[in-house]
Amino acid sequence: MMPIEIRTSSFDPWEEINLHQQKMGKDGQFGATASFVGTMRDINEGEPVQSMTLEHYPGMTEKHLQEICADASQKWDLIDTLVIHRVGEIEIADPIVLVCVWSAHRAEAFDACRFIMEDLKSKAPFWKQESTTEGKRWVEKNTPG
């Protein structure tokens, strides 16, 4: 089982990577760590955004994140992966998603990190609702990757 976490409160992605790496105990084995952090911006599609609510489908979300990481581990020779995703009320500058991949060499880490992130964006059942001065609106599509 790959480490997948859905968080209902703010998290520090760099501390999470650090902690996870210590727990892994694979010092000397990994030569490459690629990570991606998605963070809440104060603007979207040209309009100021005040906050956001992230809804998900409990159960299906975790299942799909697991499948995405398992797919990545089949495609590339990986040492470990870590995915953390926020749900609930999100403030500006809060981290929303963390994807981190450890491997022996850099090509695998880069490729797998991006693959997991793109797959997560297109498949994992999460929905963003933004609060603007005009009221609330559901985000209808993600920016292209």
């Binding site: 809804e55 489908y57 929303i96 964006k121 059942p125 929905w127 209808e140 993600n142």
Partner: protein, 76 residues
């Protein structure tokens, strides 16, 4: 046969509920379940899942299934 139907995000708001229990007379394509609950004849732009797996509109819903309808996902 009894099924559970879940709605998420804008569809949850549109339906005015997050979940309902339905009784079907027989195994039914999921697109027909959508037409029944929504009163809409099209399921364009609606994602559908049975037991937490994405399915196509012609997938058959069986006794005890957990069915879900939701808009395109926007996580990450």
């Amino acid at each position: 046969m009894n099924i559970t139907v879940k709605y998420f995000a804008s569809l949850r708001e549109q339906m005015g509920k997050a979940e309902e229990l339905l009784t079907l007379s027989k195994a039914t394509p999921i697109a027909e379940v959508w037409e029944n609950v929504s009163g809409e004849t099209s399921s364009d732009n609606i994602l559908m899942a049975i037991n937490m797996e994405y399915v196509k509109p012609d997938a058959i819903v069986e006794e005890g299934d957990e069915v879900a309808f939701f808009p395109p996902v926007t996580g990450g």
